[in-house]
Symmetry: C2
Subunit: 769 residues, 2 copies
């Protein structure tokens, strides 16, 4: 075990203490939120139903995912590594997964208490700023928990494993990412199945408004906001945090030794401090929009973060690369001042966060041209709404991807041609981006809380027109902040994935070295191309195509799962209307719980397919085609993934807010044909922005980490001249069969769903309805 | 100049003769088509208007494009090459562009005469098979012309330039691709602006049926079918043919010398022969569907093509690689029988064509599950139609991309680890694919001709119910064949682009060799990464992201252009209804010509932005980041491009046919809410399948050939240690400014369009309407 110096250990211990302090601050904030008024009895009753549903879902989800986690835990032991690392990595995997789940649960459990408090606040004078404050502080709790647990986990692993920490941390990051992906997909399907299903029967068939208590799916819809947008996104951001840290520590150690390992922890610890500042300074002043206040909090945190990070860097690092203790040979002669270069990389990351914030706000905000344009196209019907939203989404994806690419270019140029430094700087830019993550999580949680508050207000009927307007405004702000978070999350995915190429190469190089050392002959021919990272080779290009295809398939599966699950909701709600005529007249209370149960059952069933695809696709490509094409696969997945994720998130955000604009009176207002057109756009956008789009972020990370983990095994099974290729190809075929089998199973479910559908039809035709 | 042997020259001359014979056969077929009955006077009048509009548009388009062509012709002289090659390449560019334009014009000019003949045939007994025959033979003329001119051009260049032909052929391919891209984009915008605009005012606002003569946009809609789906696609397929041949000749010469240069010509000449067979054997028997007959023709041609190609290969090539005269050193020791390996590669390409045909037919045909599923979702409204169509599109894109990737893998495995042979085999697989192109073009042209025939029938009122049903069936077949052609076209794009990486590398290597020979020092540091093809380098990854982003931006621009141009049509049609009340009652004939003029003006204006983007993006990336990232850019564009192209084409095809299914009586039939929902889906799909999607194919080729052409200049300006990087970066910035400026100009047009729109609104509000 490589030892760390006493000074470094002290710093890491201090960072651990900061992590604990961040968690303590989260507890304080939580008390503040819970101390506010809980609202009228009607509100409390509705909120109670939502709480119950959300807890029931998450508990069942965790039970299902625990099985997955145990299987993966076992599989991790099959991969080649030193026994000690193997065990540590597997345990770290469980911790990563556990923390991810805990953050999700925590986010949900507070959000379901905060929603009713925001609704209650809106009924009081000064409700605007008070409501925004509660919603934002709720987010603050989750944000501080993300930062605190992420930092605690990383610092803990470093304290225990010292110089061996990076390999163990891969397990931590993988656990966090895998669980987050499942939570994102499962929660995303739940929330949008309920939402779309509720709209299809409620708005389309029965002509009753959104969140009308007569609709049996409304409670499920609100539960969905909490398990998808809140728990799912919190786990996702935790995972972004964890994986980014993992990548930085690995690359930092490789490039700059001990100091490189500790530096990223220092930067993110600063992020924890400025997050406190950001949460405390976010306050809506007078009549200003909630978005403005949130932006202010973000920018304050960002500017202070840059200054503190630069200060820490200048104190911690020496003035030349040669003076960095334990610097890699390649970097010892690197010109330039490492303090300046590192500070510039961190700045790059923070600026990137700011630009994404602005760009996403521009594309999805209710006051800027793109959303107004989408709203405008509602006058020529739903088709133009859909097309204009797609246009907005595509354009915003290009510019967002472009500036992320520019940030990577910047880090690359700072490194002056050194690949290992460039990768570390990309990771540091990611850490810079992460210094804002506390505020970002707070912003994001704002979304589902205010959405829920509006639902509770509508269902209880206890909020007057002025209060309702306050909640509508908050909800619109939430739509934009949710889109922003997705932009930031995907940016961390790209940076982390780019940086992880460094650990990928290292893993491959180590494995190649071992083969050479053992004196085994290395095979030539096709194997040569299998281990080359040559982008112009046809087989690498095949990897790129398959990587992009996986993103497309994953998105398609997620969207289809929502459509299918929504169909089941439609039958159930229809059945309730049919069998209980009292519902429509308001005499009978619909059976909300049944719909929640169906959502729970279906989303747990549907999350397996995309999950298995994500885990097995890189295994199939890696063992089937080699580590070179697998690198191509990752590059293709990153390139297509970032574009697709932003496209889906922003077109969805623009449609949602375009609908809000029309509901606020533009182009005919509620009930007009323009409104109907924007409702269609919004429904199309639902699975885009809340199921498929955000799940691409953990997808990329899961595929990346799976690749890093299997790379040594692939090399061992393909490179020696006397190797038995049958086993390797057999493994690839099994993985491909798992992926295709999962897709096929989902197709069969679709066919079964259509059959049920026909049965429902014939019953309706027989006059039962 | 490297000489070719007498034997080779004789073979090439024979191939030239086959090309001329193919053109002669086209003339014969054309006569047959024109000999059929022209229909009633009303039909003739409508067809006359369509002819006039289509000719006027193409003429104006060519005038605009001639300016572009002349500019590019000039720019080609600025790129480094030997003077003789420079001139030859520039002239070949003009020929390529000219042939592309000629094919487009020819396709259009015959289609506008065939449409009315198909409509007339439908009124007679046995109309089904007679109508299908005329439509398919019209396609046959275009198909034979594509094959004949492509082969003639390539054979001509080889005869004149002998061993230097490959470098000159780059110009030929580039000209063909550039012109085809503009024709695809311009025609695509025209056809869909008219179609969408007509639908929005006609179906949505006024509630009159499609192709109703009272709608001023109907003639423009039918003109659009001819200039977009027919002329655009014909030029596009010609371009596919030309670029694939170019890639094969270049790689064949590099890998296997003289025989490698001639072999691809032999394979494609066989394609010309079997195309004749395919066209002649396609005949609808009794009550079978038109699609079945077309499939039969295709499969007959494919099987005969495989057999003839294998026979020719066995006659032409020796039994070992070492015996191939002029074989490259690297391949002299290659094990295996070249005759078997080459035949297998050709077979791979033909099988790929067959699988794509089947797969596309499955996803978009009216009798298979996916389209039936989309039609089914119409019962829950437009949102689910849009979502299910997107799901179908995404899934089909993944499987199509997957099998193209599998074909590349197959070629790679056949090559047994030799990169240069692998690239040549990929190109030969492409040639195999192309042996079916004659039949494919015929299938494609079938689409607009039958679509037009239906329009003419509807407008003239001279076709009875039975005849109308015949035409509806033919039109549905056309929707599927159009989707199939797009699948095949994008497959050729991927294969050609993969193969062109070979010429790209060669161009770079030659330029690097020249620098080394001149004794100039080679710069290290950042430049090292700029010339490495390392997929794991951050800067290459930036290239991949930017490549994907270009495809997204291009697609978004094309879709937006359609929405915007459709808006202008909406105003004009509204104005005519407002100012001429006699239109609605049928007393006044609308001014069809005005709408055609607007479509012409707008699509010529709108085609510049995506065109400039395609040409300048690789220049910006290449000069800005280097040849390594440029290779990444191409890989990203190919990977994202193939997925996006198939997604857009097939979701559009599925929506169109789902609408047809509902119109045929499913789920409530015409006029039901389900019908309205599928109309929305179809309108969303219009710019997907006929504007953005198919233009991605030439886009990829244009970007590829631009990259091949600029690669030597990039190396010369970046690699020498004493180079002045300012000029290189300046060039990159200019190119980036051109691309962004074009995007900005299109945004400004959008703002202006919205302002016009508001003016129109206020006029409507003032009660003028």
């Amino acid at each position: 075990m490589i030892e760390l110096g006493q000074g470094s250990l002290t710093i890491v211990a201090v960072i651990g203490a900061i992590a604990v302090a961040a968690l303590a601050f989260a507890v304080v904030l939580r008390r503040q939120v819970l101390a506010t008024d809980e609202g009228t009895p009607a509100m409390k009753e509705i909120a109670g139903a939502i709480q119950e549903g959300a807890k029931a879902y998450l508990t069942r989800q965790f039970r299902t995912l625990a099985i997955f986690a145990v299987i993966v835990f076992g599989l991790l032991f099959l991969l080649p590594a030193e026994p000690e690392i193997k065990l540590g990595r597997a345990i770290a995997f469980l911790f990563g997964a556990g923390f991810s789940a805990a953050i999700g649960y925590l986010g949900m459990s507070l959000a379901v208490k905060a929603n009713v408090r925001v609704a209650a606040a809106a009924t009081r004078p000064g409700g605007r700023s008070e409501g925004a404050r509660i919603a934002f502080r709720t987010g603050g709790v989750v944000g501080m928990a993300v930062v605190g647990l992420g930092l605690l986990g990383a610092a803990g692993v470093v304290l225990v494993y010292r110089g061996e920490a990076p390999a163990v941390l891969e397990g931590f990051g993988f656990g966090a990412a895998l669980l987050a992906m499942f939570m994102r997909v499962g929660g995303g399907i739940f929330t949008k199945a309920a939402d779309v299903g509720a709209d299809l029967v409620g708005k389309v068939e029965q002509g009753i408004p959104e969140d009308d208590p007569r609709n049996a799916a409304t409670i499920a819809d609100n539960v969905g906001d909490n398990v998808g947008d809140c728990a799912g996104m919190a786990a996702d951001l935790f995972e972004s945090y964890a994986v980014m840290l993992v990548a930085s520590l690995i690359l930092g150690k490789a490039a700059m030794g001990e100091q490189g390992l500790v530096l990223p922890l220092i930067i993110t610890a600063i992020g924890a401090l400025v997050a406190v500042l950001g949460v405390l300074t976010t306050r809506v002043r007078g009549e200003e929009s909630g978005l403005r206040a949130i932006y202010r909090g973000f920018y304050v945190a960002a500017v202070v973060g840059v200054l503190l990070a630069a200060l820490a860097t200048f104190v911690y690092l020496p003035g030349t690369f040669a003076d960095v203790p334990g610097i890699s040979e390649a970097l010892a002669g690197q010109p330039g001042d490492p303090r300046l270069i590192v500070s510039a990389a961190v700045l790059l990351g923070i600026v990137l966060a700011g630009v994404i914030l602005w760009l996403t706000g521009y594309y999805t905000g209710t006051t800027s041209r793109p959303t107004l344009h989408v709203a405008r196209t509602s006058r020529t019907g739903a088709a133009t709404v859909v097309l204009s939203g797609i246009g907005v989404g595509l354009e915003s994806a290009v510019f967002t991807a472009g500036i992320i690419a520019a940030a990577i270019c910047g880090a690359f140029l700072l490194a002056g041609g050194s690949l290992s430094l460039a990768l570390f700087l990309v990771a540091l830019a990611g850490c810079g981006l992460l210094t804002t993550v506390g505020v970002i999580v707070a912003m994001d949680t704002f979304g589902p809380v205010s959405d829920n508050a509006q639902g509770i207000a509508e269902m209880s009927g206890d909020v007057d027109a002025a209060g309702a307007q306050v909640l509508t405004d908050l909800d619109a702000v939430g739509n934009t902040t949710k889109a922003i978070t997705k932009g930031i999350a995907i940016a961390t995915a790209v940076l982390a994935a780019t940086a992880l190429f460094g650990s990928y190469r290292e893993a491959v190089d180590v494995a190649m070295g071992e083969i050479a050392e053992a004196g085994t002959q290395v095979a030539g021919g096709i194997v040569g191309a299998m281990v080359a990272y040559d982008i112009t080779s046809p087989i690498t290009l095949v990897g790129v195509i398959l990587g992009g295809a996986t993103v497309f398939l994953f998105s398609g599966l997620a969207i289809d799962a929502v459509t299918r699950a929504a169909g089941a909701i439609v039958f159930e709600v229809r059945r309730q209307f049919r069998e209980m005529p009292g519902i429509m007249t308001g005499e009978t209370r619909p059976e909300y719980g049944k719909v929640v149960d169906i959502c729970t059952r279906d989303s747990l069933r549907e999350l397996a397919t995309p999950g298995l695809l994500a885990a097995s696709a890189p295994i199939a490509v890696g063992f089937g085609l080699g580590v070179g094409p697998l690198a191509g696969f990752l590059a293709g997945a990153i390139g297509t993934g970032v574009l697709m994720a932003v496209f889906l998130a922003n077109s969805g955000g623009a449609w949602d807010n375009a609908k809000k604009l029309v509901e606020d009176g533009l182009h005919g207002g509620k009930g007009s044909e323009a409104h109907a057109a924007t409702v269609i756009g919004d429904t199309v956008g639902d699975p885009f922005k809340d199921t498929a789009g955000p799940a691409i972020n953990p997808l990329i990370k899961v595929m990346n980490l799976v690749s890093v983990l299997i790379a040594p095994a692939v090399v061992q099974m393909s490179v020696p001249a006397d190797t038995n290729h049958a086993l390797r190809i057999g493994l690839a075929l099994v993985a491909a069969a798992v992926a295709l089998g999962a897709v096929l199973a989902s197709r069969l479910r679709a066919v079964r769903a259509e059959r049920d559908d026909e049965r429902d039809d014939s019953r309706t035709a027989a006059g039962v309805l």
